[in-house]
């Protein structure tokens, strides 16, 4: 047996080991859940879509969404315990009506994995629709307080 040969083989194996593998966060991992809103008729309780709805964070520059929907999932702010949104129906028309809505919640960070890090989950405490004497939103009812998945709606918006 040749000591030199053996020792060199072991040293060559070193090079492979000294490369540390990096984990990659796959998009199949569930990220921070959004809050799912369902728009319903305030009389019948049936699904009722909002036409030309524009959703925007109050201090955000970009719109989050513009369109006609009867349910939508919105992202909550991970850095504060309140998310402030402007919900405008009939956006950019004569019947345009803007309501300001505040979601108050507590946040819990949940560890996913080495590569994905932490995601956030929320417990909704209350929802406040600012009174402007001509609100199109009649009421906002919390159906599921804990926001930890996106399986079904968490909040019903009556209008």
């Amino acid at each position: 047996m040749n000591f030199q040969l053996y020792s060199r083989v072991i040293l060559i194996l070193f090079f492979f080991i000294s490369c540390e593998p990096d984990d990659i966060c796959l998009e199949s991992n569930e990220d921070t859940p959004n809050l799912i809103l369902k728009f319903v008729d305030s009389f019948s309780g049936e699904n009722k879509s909002v036409s030309n709805l524009r959703i925007k964070g109050i201090n955000n520059i970009e719109d989050f969404f513009v369109g006609t929907v009867d349910s939508i999932s919105i992202p909550l702010n991970n850095y504060e315990n309140t998310s402030s949104f402007s919900f405008t129906k009939e956006f950019e028309s004569n019947e345009s009506n803007e309501d300001l809505i505040y979601f108050n919640y507590t946040r819990n960070n949940v560890y996913i994995s080495r590569s994905c890090g932490y995601k956030m989950e929320y417990d909704i405490e209350n929802i406040i629709v600012e009174n402007d004497n001509s609100n199109w939103i009649e009421d906002a009812i919390i159906e599921t307080r804990t926001v930890n998945n996106e399986i079904s709606h968490h909040v019903k918006i009556y209008h």
């Binding site: 000591f3 020792s7 080991i17 490369c19 593998p21 992202p75 850095y79 994995s113 080495r114």
Partner: protein, 234 residues
């Protein structure tokens, strides 16, 4: 990162050269005595790979090594050390620190020419580690990114963590001068059990090294320099 990898390669190459020279000298050594005295004794040393890591990584640590030759080819080995590693990545800035001990044996399967005391061995260790981890800040995994993003500063500490594992080792030791040995080993670690914290993961375990996702295996390397205290001669 690239720079660090490069540096580590250069250091590895440097060691490769040192060992090559050292080994070559050993091989050219000739003894013509017929009765070869086999030295048995206690060997103590340090793992220099820790010092290299202190240069290339955000890391501090040390490791002591000790072995006793109990039979011609068999050594009983104990290792103890401390690791303190910061992991700063895109998601989480965290640190892991703690102590470990490893015990087991090395079996030298190299047939030395007369007078030489080199070893090429395989080894086995049982290892246990006790450590804590800390999270300094993190970035929330949120694909929408609608709100202003930034790292959330939220310090948390996870104490009383632990792990047990076994190591399979392949390595060599070369006698570089009287009673001084230099050696290196590569290790395959297999986790047996680990105590994970409630809301964090053991991304690094002192003694075990980096823990990759859903993987019970890890790897380690050592560069040991040791001194033999000659007690017994046979």
């Amino acid at each position: 990162m690239k720079y660090h990898t490069m540096l580590r390669y250069i250091i590895n190459l440097f060691f490769l050269l040192i060992f090559s020279i050292g080994v070559t000298q050993q091989d050219s050594l000739q003894l013509d005595t017929l009765k070869i005295k086999q030295k048995y004794g206690l060997r103590i040393g340090v793992d220099l790979s820790k010092q290299i890591r202190m240069v290339t990584e955000d890391y501090t640590g040390f490791s002591f090594y000790g072995d006793i030759r109990i039979k011609e080819r068999l050594f009983i080995v104990a290792e103890a050390g401390n690791d303190n590693k910061k992991i700063n990545n895109e998601n989480i800035n965290s640190s892991f620190s703690g102590n470990y001990i490893k015990a087991g044996f090395n079996y030298n399967f190299y047939n030395n020419p007369p007078g030489l005391e080199n070893e090429i061995y395989f080894g086995f260790r049982f290892a246990t580690s006790s450590f804590k981890s800390e999270v300094f800040n993190y970035l929330v995994y949120d694909l929408d990114k609608y709100w202003e993003n930034g790292r959330i500063e939220n310090y948390s500490e996870f104490k009383n963590l632990g792990a047990n594992w076994i190591e399979l080792i392949l390595g060599f030791n070369a006698k570089v001068s009287k009673n001084i040995f230099m050696g290196t080993s590569i290790r395959l670690n297999r986790m047996i059990s680990q105590k994970k914290p409630e809301n964090f993961g053991n991304q690094f375990i002192p003694g075990f090294n980096v823990v990759t996702e859903d993987n019970k295996f890890g790897t380690g390397i050592t560069y040991t320099i040791s001194y033999r205290i000659p007690i017994i001669k046979k």
